[in-house]
Symmetry: C2
Subunit: 335 residues, 2 copies
């Protein structure tokens, strides 16, 4: 595989101590353009979008896209493409958050009332549609294959949402079912981000493919760690009650592992409906057991290892180092 | 203005007695590709999309786009572009129907239970998102300006939905408010269709602009006639109870005209909430009065006249004649 040489990254400095530092300028561009794109002729749409997006969220997807773009040799002259792609994916991600909260009846998001809880179904549904449209408006300038990649990822997100719903409150979900859901519902957008970033950077077909698989593994690892945090907490860091997935019947990683390793969990999770409070407490105790959490962490680490392996094919650079650092931080993060 | 010469249309025959006949083959292409695009890996998504779209609906938007494409000189070699644009707009329209029924609590659609009533919020919301994504996937092959036109129309649709909600159950809506809502909520997609069709046909900038304004007028006329039918019925033809707009507080054409011409209507429409049954019956009697309906029909005819005037700039052809016939039929239609 041809190794692509990345542009010389900014010099390390006291401020450059975190992975985001090497693309700080690009992230600032993302932030200012993103804010502009939330403007609507209808003030309530702008308000909801700002409530969800403005200054909130980790911007993990933009960060990964920008780092991959640079690590794959993306040059300064075309950085606006990478910035737009990063914004488009953050807009799509935000649209799905708005719609997911309606579908799941999610009342809390990032430690505060969800847009659905605060503004109701109608306004938050329309605001989600608005964000989808803004994303595709932005994608208009890209080649057909990039638009198709983004639209294809969106289709997977919707299908993943349905699959998750199908498996809800089912006490027989397997790890393969779980992996299929998170691959569509979360990782598809990371995979599309990896592919688009490498493509925009002018990488060859093999690298583009590799970065798509890299994104898939990163997205899976990210969701797995989220699932573990859902049961380990603490609440003040995860911004929602511990055990929400169990309560809502979402087939999360600790639950599928619990079902494999501790057969008595199955009897606590009634097929077809939410568990009662006593069963919920017993089930939560099981999925929080050190052995279950260890097995869950091992699954997440496996995805991180796959991602790290795929990253090896990219030439060394400060950008690649930043990605590796972000990746390593995934299994350690607490919120 | 340069008049563009259209391709020689199919010869008139016994079967070619209706406006759609001159683009029958193109409409068949639309139908078969549309059916394929409703396929999802999740059967429930396919089922909902088929329930709404398959074999149902007037396909008015595809018909107008195909006729405009041909009337503006669009050639056979690029007809697939026009077919794809027609499908994309029908997909977007269908997505908004699914989401609108959730927002408005619409239980009936085209004389049968709406997808929302039959499949619930979650599934019909996701199916709407799926259709939006399919539309943009299809748009990927088009130039940036066409994608931007489509995305811009979608943004207007969402903003129109919010504006309509803002004016709901308000007894002080003006005709200008009404025109602003329907221009965004309904006519923006016809306007985008007109622009895109002329652009794909290779028309000059003036014609493209004219066809956008033509679409706007057609879309407005279409919505105005729909609003009149909502109060005149009969129910078996309109597929929903007579007076639904009054009941739901939607600012429709007969209502804004009633408010202008019959001041007592205002007292029957409580600001801020639905009218009681007695007030509803009195209000319905007013908006059905021959004078109110005549004034409403005059407003629709005004838009038809604007559209007909704009159509004059296109060279004569069987396609143009079909458009004119469709246009004239708007004010006469009963469902």
């Amino acid at each position: 595989m041809k190794l692509m040489k990345a542009d010389a990254p900014p010099k390390a400095s006291a401020e450059c101590s975190e992975p985001a530092a090497v693309v700080r300028r690009e992230l600032t561009l993302v932030e200012s353009k993103l804010t502009r794109l939330l403007e609507s002729r209808e003030p309530i749409i702008t308000e909801i979008c700002r409530y969800l997006i403005d200054g909130a969220g980790k911007r993990l997807r933009p960060l990964f896209i920008l780092l991959i773009y640079r690590a794959c040799g993306g040059v300064e002259a075309n950085v606006e493409d990478a910035v737009d792609a990063a914004i488009a994916l953050e807009l799509i991600h935000s649209a799905t958050l708005l719609h997911d909260d309606i579908i799941d009846g999610g009342m809390l998001r990032r430690g505060k009332p969800s847009a659905f809880a605060r503004y109701g179904v109608a306004a938050s549904l329309v605001a989600g549609d608005f964000l989808f449209c803004r994303a595709f408006e932005l994608c208009g300038r890209f080649d057909e294959r990039l638009v198709r990649t983004a639209a294809g990822a969106c289709i997977q997100l919707t299908e993943g949402e349905v699959m998750e719903g199908r498996l809800r409150h089912q006490a027989h979900g397997s790890f393969d079912d779980y992996l299929a859901v998170i691959s569509q519902k979360t990782a598809s957008l990371f995979a599309a981000g990896g592919r688009v970033a490498a493509d925009l950077a002018g990488a060859n077909a093999v690298t583009i493919e590799t970065m798509e698989r890299f994104g898939l593994a990163v997205g899976r690892a990210f969701q797995m760690v989220d699932d573990i945090l859902d049961v380990t907490g603490p609440e003040e860091l995860i911004g929602k009650p511990v055990g929400s997935d169990l309560r809502e019947g979402v087939l999360s990683l600790p639950i599928v592992i619990g079902l494999q390793e501790r057969p008595e969990l199955k009897s606590m999770l009634r097929d077809g409906g939410p568990p009662d409070e006593a069963a919920l407490a017993s089930a939560l105790a099981i999925v929080r057991e050190p052995q279950v959490i260890r097995s869950a962490r091992a699954k997440a680490s496996e995805q991180v290892a796959i991602a790290a392996g795929l990253l090896c094919s990219v030439a060394d650079s400060a950008y690649k180092a930043a990605i590796a650092e972000l990746l390593a931080a995934q299994t350690e993060r607490v919120s």
